[in-house]
Subunit: 386 residues, 2 copies
Amino acid sequence: MLNFDFYNPTQILFGQGRIADLNKAIPASAKVLLLYGGGSIKTNGVFDEVMTALGSRQVTEFTGIEPNPSYETLMKAVALIKESQIDFLLAVGGGSVIDGTKFIAAAALFEGGDPWAILEKRGTNITQALPFGTVLTLPATGSEMNSGAVVTRKSINAKLAFSSRHCFPKFSVLDPAKTYTLPVRQIGNGAVDAFVHVMEQYLTYPVNSPVQDRFAEGLLKTLIEEGPKALANPHDYDVRANLMWCATMALNGLIATGVPQDWATHMIGHELTALHGIDHAQTLAIVLPSMLRVRKEAKRAKLLQFAERVWDLREGNDDTRIDTAISKMQDYFEQMGVKTRLRDYGLNSSHISSLISALETHRMVALGEKRDVTPAISQQVLELSL
Amino acid sequence: MLNFDFYNPTQILFGQGRIADLNKAIPASAKVLLLYGGGSIKTNGVFDEVMTALGSRQVTEFTGIEPNPSYETLMKAVALIKESQIDFLLAVGGGSVIDGTKFIAAAALFEGGDPWAILEKRGTNITQALPFGTVLTLPATGSEMNSGAVVTRKSINAKLAFSSRHCFPKFSVLDPAKTYTLPVRQIGNGAVDAFVHVMEQYLTYPVNSPVQDRFAEGLLKTLIEEGPKALANPHDYDVRANLMWCATMALNGLIATGVPQDWATHMIGHELTALHGIDHAQTLAIVLPSMLRVRKEAKRAKLLQFAERVWDLREGNDDTRIDTAISKMQDYFEQMGVKTRLRDYGLNSSHISSLISALETHRMVALGEKRDVTPAISQQVLELSL
């Protein structure tokens, strides 16, 4: 096992009816900025429940945080905070709203000039942030219980990540019943996103970490079991609860403790989103199967473990079991309604060179757990995904 | 899944050489009270490493916190803190030193009269505590990453638990190499303690919580695999690291999320320690196998799952698999050097009635996940353990 630090102070309020507990979780005197995306929380009852729980607190609204939240949009919220003496942020939505709120929380108190520097320095220059909580409506990114975020700057087609120990939510409310009305596409994307988060921390090389491995495998098996049920029975509370808890646990730092991490699939996926607007989870579903096929030798030991423990494959030789496991994973993504080929999204071989250039521009030239995924290997991965 | 709150802000600094990081983890201006038990940290190098890391900080020592730390001893530390204007506590040791330090941290700032009231009210009356960190030298109780503690009052033979969100360690240093020199008995006790902690949260009744179940099963399987290796090869770093991380994860609140909890075995065990001085883990090894046998019908579904997933038992009828699983668990405790019968500790049937009276005195009359473990059932459990 590798040495590690683990720290995660976010309080989780999980279960039906927990939005009412916002009243206890937020200071009574807080001047709250309520941040959300489109209007879905206005039609599914979440907005009303939140406002009721906030009671007589002064609440200002900031709406329109888009998927892949943009620096341009988020800076408008920063300006509003400065005008209105806001002292507490409440993000209501999915990963994009929460990621955006993390950036806003840090940018509002940033003393190092243009807050774009936060992204350029990956958050290492954050020294404080406004306190914020979240009400999660879409289980997927895990942002509700971690300190990281990804922000897009539209003007330069850049999608960059940052994290800081100052950017953990103070609390997150997770009410699985609030996910009943989500579109099929978002449930599918969410399950795939969580699955790939686990894989980026699990499918590397063995370092004798049986607890972390079994936790990761437990999450993967649960996602495989519960994902299709969530599509078939949208109002099954336990299924939605299990999916939600999987997504949170997939990226709260726990399964990353003491193990190598990959993240090459995410970095290539970010360029697909930035250049072509493909949903984040879709990009992961496109890249990961090919990444595992191309990196098969480097990842052989863990691929065999994945085949046996996650997919229960015990027949056939090593290569057969590995190939079958990767195919089963790809089938699972498709089963969840997430297409896994570039051609499914209208892309062909002519689009690959600009993606590789973008990786190079963003210095994503030595990716993966051993930093040996060069642009040439990324190109091979994308070609295999055509 | 049941509704739940989860909150655990303790920072973990895990790995070889991490004691040096105390210098970053503790404020430079802190007036530190260093708390420990016997003298083992003076002979195994831990004390020197800690003092080096603390550098020029003002350090006062408080030694002699005993196993099953006593109110009487701990109150001496509280007096010392008040005399010396201490503002940071550093516990160096195992669960007893850390539990004791939690009580001291709360008692030092307690404004409700005699701090014994903290135990009488189970910690609900704690409103503040001195900040403290820990250096863990004995993986077992999980106290290094939770907010609970158990304190004994010798004068009245009482062993009582409390917890408070103010009593999480700010940080805990976990260096597996510091456990190499532990006596066999403490390694055995530690593995059994962690195992039973998991069981108290896992072996109840199903509530459709696959993530929590698989995490619990992962910890149990790892303890089963790594425990004997830790006895056979005391200097195997990875084995000690895995054991240490299991013990921490077994009782940091995570596997308790959204599931029923039992704890009857612990409550009966506390009386065995209070009246007869038997090691905590030994009491658990005595009580749990009989508890599962006596509660077999109420716990049937989870016992079957335990048999299949933890012990890989798939042959024979349900009762055979359950009985085999419980026997294998008991064998594992014995293999770890922890005896599982009252007679192994010199107790016989004549000792049972006073144990039951003690349970009644402490109002432990409706134990277990369904509050249906009466004193009569506790008596049946103890009789089966003779």
